[in-house]
Symmetry: C3
Subunit: 182 residues, 3 copies
């Protein structure tokens, strides 16, 4: 009789451990696909907010988003023609981003930046610095780097910048309570 109960409890223990292992962590995972100022602002506000609440935060920059992570003071040599073309057409760094709407040749973008200053909302550059301090993890899609011909030496200085593939993103996202595509 007792051994039957013991077996039952042992089985419960195993199942419970399995459940615990597969549980999603207090973690936020965002694919930053967009290269628009407004959308990246939203991503950074959510990311720094989550870190302030002590959640782990993993950003995965891909496609247009990667262009924002270039440092405008760095100019790597040895790019082929297509890479130079792409590099030239895309915004270089966060200060060159535009709004997805109402850009109106830059007037809307300037207006928003003016409003943000006036209302004491941190600029994107300040947010990136805060994100680095708070420990927001930034991963960059290696395939996007290859496609657009970006080189590691032209990216911004950021703690532990990692270059990863879609498998790494999926593993992180599966472990995260919250997943967004922005």
């Amino acid at each position: 009789m007792a051994t039957e109960l013991e077996n039952q409890v042992g089985l419960l223990e195993k199942q419970l451990k399995k459940l615990q292992a597969s549980q999603q962590k207090d973690q936020l995972s965002i694919v930053v696909f967009s290269g628009d100022l407004d959308k990246i602002l939203a991503a950074m506000i959510i990311a720094t907010g989550a870190r302030a609440m002590d959640m782990e935060v993993k950003l995965f920059f891909t496609f247009w988003g990667t262009a924002m992570l270039r440092d405008k003071k760095k100019s790597p040599k040895g790019k082929d023609f297509m890479s130079r073309m792409f590099g030239f057409m895309l915004p270089k760094g966060s200060t060159q981003l535009k709004l997805s709407k109402l850009n109106m040749c830059g007037m809307g973008t300037s207006m928003l930046k003016g409003l943000m200053k006036k209302k004491n909302v941190a600029s994107l550059e300040e947010m990136l610095a805060t994100a680095a301090e708070l420990g927001v993890e930034i991963n960059i899609c290696q395939m996007s780097m290859d496609l657009m011909g970006f080189k590691k030496e032209e990216m911004i200085d950021y703690p532990n910048l990692k270059y990863v593939g879609v498998g790494s993103y999926l593993a992180d996202a599966g472990d995260s309570k919250i997943q967004l595509f922005i």
Copy 2:
């Protein structure tokens, strides 16, 4: 022997309670960032569909999305110049929204609205009314309100409209089985 088993069972009970407490609810959380007719339609169709399946639904309107929640019959006084400018450039209420693509000076948007009527798909205004009836919860990003200079007295009449910050959104999203950014 028996006490050992009792302790084991007590421990299991505690771990199980912890698991239950951290479990995500049958709840849907959507960030409505976009101000495009098509995307907001998608958000409202998913939201009302989820309520019909008895899920809790929490919408978090931010950035361009907030403009849609203004009531075109209300005109608050005392706005500064920038706020008036922004207010003027953004669509006021759901009837002024445009498609993200194929707008073609309004023709595409009219065509879609005509098609929706013909095929008995509810208009956005009807969907908002249904959402209110079904108990879809609408939260508005306070920071967006401040940035765009919108005032609470110009927003639509909707039951329990709340003005919240990113922390409140993250808490809701973490509790939700499904989270989307639209």
Copy 3:
């Protein structure tokens, strides 16, 4: 004494089963709303990557996304005027998609396609074939089909293409560890 413990264990067992039943599966659910080449590429890369990691993958094509699933070799008869108009204005099949940015009358789109070929990134057509082989499940929003006047006989050949409603999407998404809206 023993029976009390037995009852306790029995209760634990029930609660554990309930937890297991409500647990999200190793499954990815994506709403493919966008009709842009870049965004659909991102969706397909994530989807095939997830299948390669043995996750279940359920795509839900809606709105602009559905246009991509039309077969350009098929031309169904008997459409009304509005449906023919919509069908004409929307891209027919994956080869006609454009970039969401930098399209520049097709030059940007051609450049990207050229780069993808050069860097050995699979084209969208190849990715769809891979997705079919790997068992990525494609569901199409029935309401979008109705709205845009698309007919089942003009859609691409894909294994087990299903036409579903928002309820079916929500059930799948609620069961999925990762949910995205692209």
